[in-house]
């Protein structure tokens, strides 16, 4: 597919052939994309109220990519999301309340306050949380897929990187391992055109990151990352390739970081026009207009959903606010598996 930066802006999801996507899936896309958006906005609010502990790296306007990719996985597949991928966590059914509890450092988060913000796992849901060091999860994902093979199961693994993260050595190592071992591994590049303050022309000189797939003899695809239908369809193709034993895929989703790198960052280095151009391509509005046009949704539905989402977010925030902070002494416990719980993916 063509780079979205080469074409005139597509303000709506075009009527292309996205393959056989059921109405239920379209509604799931819509639901999780909107939920991710509402959650992000609430997190930003909570941050301003000093209720968020630590930093906040908004995935705002990345929802079509994060949700569209994660929804294409099956339950036995494994998701390893990165720092802008709360949408993927939600699509994987990570409970919203856990996310808020995590951001507030509360004991009822899956890390019991030991880790923060996006470093969220859920062994029951086959979600592995990332470490901050970009690149580290790539070979881990390859190993999970490979384990699946030895255990007689096709386990597709999917992990993420930003455009900046593609400069790290493990991008190369893991894609090469996956190619040689021919495992069903999907590396999603969320190309949001900046790595913190660094624009892509200072990060790489190749035209499209997806073209790097050729350097490993694997499939590569570039897709409009603000078009949830296209993202989902492309990811499903990648998943199916993996299930058919055709190995890994490098999937580049073109999007734009509409806020600062973190809430602290005013992002003065981003050209105004770029933001305006991409504002028109907002992924939430686009999927909504598309589903209205396709009569999957009615304007009345949209209103109902809005109320429902507000309620869900309110409840989750309430849960998190009521959850206690962890006991101080718990800091000293849990380094070793002997201390329990000693969970696994399944």
């Amino acid at each position: 597919m063509a780079s979205t930066t080469e074409k005139p802006p597509i303000l709506d999801i075009p009527d292309e052939d996205y393959g056989d996507i059921s109405t239920a899936t379209m509604l799931d896309l819509y639901y999780y994309i909107r939920l991710a958006r509402e959650m992000e906005l609430r997190l930003i609010n909570l941050f301003k109220q000093n209720k968020v502990v630590g930093g906040l790296y908004p995935g705002y306007a990345h929802e079509a990519t994060t949700v569209g990719t994660a929804l294409a996985l099956g339950d036995d597949d494994v998701l390893l999301p990165l720092h802008r991928d709360l949408g993927a966590q939600l699509a994987r059914r990570q409970p919203l309340k856990y996310i808020f509890a995590q951001y507030m450092g509360k004991v009822d988060s899956p890390t019991r306050g030991k880790d923060g913000n996006v470093h969220l796992a859920n062994p029951e849901l086959n979600i592995v949380g990332c470490i901050s060091h970009i690149g580290a999860m790539f070979p881990v994902a390859v190993g999970i897929s490979y384990a699946g093979r030895l255990l007689g199961k096709t386990v597709v693994t999917m992990t993420y990187t930003g455009d900046g993260g593609t400069s790290i050595g493990e991008f190369h190592e893991a894609l090469n391992f996956a190619a040689v071992l021919n495992v069903p591994f999907i590396l999603v590049v969320e190309n949001n055109q900046f790595a913190y303050s660094t624009p892509t022309n200072q990060q790489y000189k190749v035209k499209r990151i997806a073209d790097r797939a050729a350097a490993y003899g694997i499939a590569g695809e570039q897709v409009d990352g603000n078009n949830a239908m296209a993202v989902y369809a492309a990811t499903r193709r990648a998943v199916e390739r993996g299930r058919r034993g055709e190995g890994p895929t490098l999937l580049e989703c073109m999007t734009m970081r509409m806020m600062g790198h973190s809430v602290h960052d005013p992002a003065g280095y981003v050209p105004r026009e770029l933001l305006e151009e991409w504002k028109a391509k907002d992924p939430v509005a686009r999927i909504e207009r598309y589903l209205l046009r396709k009569r999957v949704l009615t304007p009345a539905d949209v209103k109902d959903w809005t109320a429902r989402l507000q309620r869900e977010v309110d409840e989750a925030v309430e849960f998190a606010e009521n959850s206690p902070l962890p006991q101080a002494e718990d800091a000293a416990r849990g380094v070793w598996a002997e201390e329990g719980p000693a969970k696994s993916l399944h």
Partner: protein, 324 residues
């Protein structure tokens, strides 16, 4: 109130060195246009240009590897790790490459790696660590860790002028909480000299970086209880000024060793071992360490507080030792 913060002192020292010596060059992620995640190089790209204030792609191993090459070819690079934690990506380059080039081939490798380190800011396991203990075990790497704004400026200059690879541990918690009145004019703090920050006769509190301030605070508390603590600030960790430490222990006969890095295999163990080897007969009490727990740095505030050393914990240890 003193005027220069710890972080501004680093900036000033770095800027003055870049003005003084055109071979001093900065490189790292987001240090140019953005001025660095903590703004240490804010304004540098305007003054020195994009070639000398180089925004690199995201890859620490190659940032450090490049710095080694630059140092071999006549520059004095100062590489920034966005957070000290990410130096783990460059571990091999530092330990096996930078640290051995002089021993093996006689090359000088004048380079500095700036490491914004330390906890207390709720950064969680990967934005809060103190990685000096790993590199302390490795030959050929100097390590400095200022505790005051004066030293922050003097030591960054000393590090840049040194002909060896130097890890500069700048503590994020101190960035804007510690200030000094810094004299006009050029000065560099030479590497390898500890300083007695507070003379005392009952117990030695030896530490560096963030625990120096904690120890001074503990000393105040202890003074009220009639315990007169001597506070030794190491300032440079490699090469370490053990003479000053041991002289203090021989005077007070009691010692508490402190650091914010984890306890097991930390720098405090080495200090303790050196004391036991060289001053065991002077000891009137166990040698006690106050350091972080041997766990990842936990995120949530009550956990992190429990994890970290503090003035109160140092005072408790000092009491135990003083009353032994």
């Amino acid at each position: 109130m003193p005027t220069t913060t710890y972080i501004d002192a680093i900036s000033e020292g770095l800027r003055e060195e870049m003005r003084r010596d055109s071979t001093v060059v900065c490189l790292g992620e987001d240090i140019g246009v953005y001025g660095g995640a903590f703004k240490v190089t804010d304004g540098f790209i305007e003054e020195f240009g994009a070639a000398r204030v180089l925004d690199t792609p995201l890859a620490e191993s190659s940032i450090v590897g490049m710095a080694i090459g630059m140092a071999l070819r006549g520059l004095r690079p100062v590489a920034e790790m966005q957070f000290a934690d990410f130096i783990s990506m460059a571990f091999n380059q530092l330990v096996n490459n930078a640290g051995t080039l002089h021993y093996r081939f006689g090359f000088k490798v004048p380079m500095v790696v700036r490491c914004p380190s330390g906890g207390g800011i709720h950064g969680g396991p990967f934005h809060s660590t103190n990685p000096e203990g790993f590199f302390f075990h490795s030959p050929g790497l100097k390590i400095v860790a200022p505790s005051t704004a004066y030293d922050a400026k003097g030591l960054i200059k000393g590090a840049i002028r040194d002909d060896n690879p130097v890890l500069f541990m700048e503590h994020k918690f101190l960035y804007r909480r510690v200030r000094d009145d810094i004299p006009e004019g050029d000065f560099a703090v030479p590497l390898g000299q500890a300083l007695v920050r507070r003379p005392g006769k009952d117990v030695t509190l030896v530490g560096y970086g963030s625990t120096t301030g904690m120890s001074l605070e503990a000393a105040k508390i202890l003074a009220e209880e009639g315990i007169d603590a001597e506070v030794v600030d190491l300032r440079t960790l490699v090469p370490m000024d053990l003479e000053t430490v041991i002289a203090s222990v021989k005077k007070t006969n009691r010692v508490v060793i402190t650091h914010e890095d984890r306890r097991r295999g930390g720098i405090g163990a080495e200090i303790s071992a050196e004391i036991s080897e060289n001053a065991v007969d002077y000891l009137d009490a166990p040698v006690v360490r106050v350091a972080a727990l041997d766990t990842p740095v936990p995120f949530s505030p009550p956990l992190e507080e429990y994890f970290l050393p503090s003035a109160a914990k140092i005072a408790t240890a000092a009491r135990r030792v003083a009353r032994y």
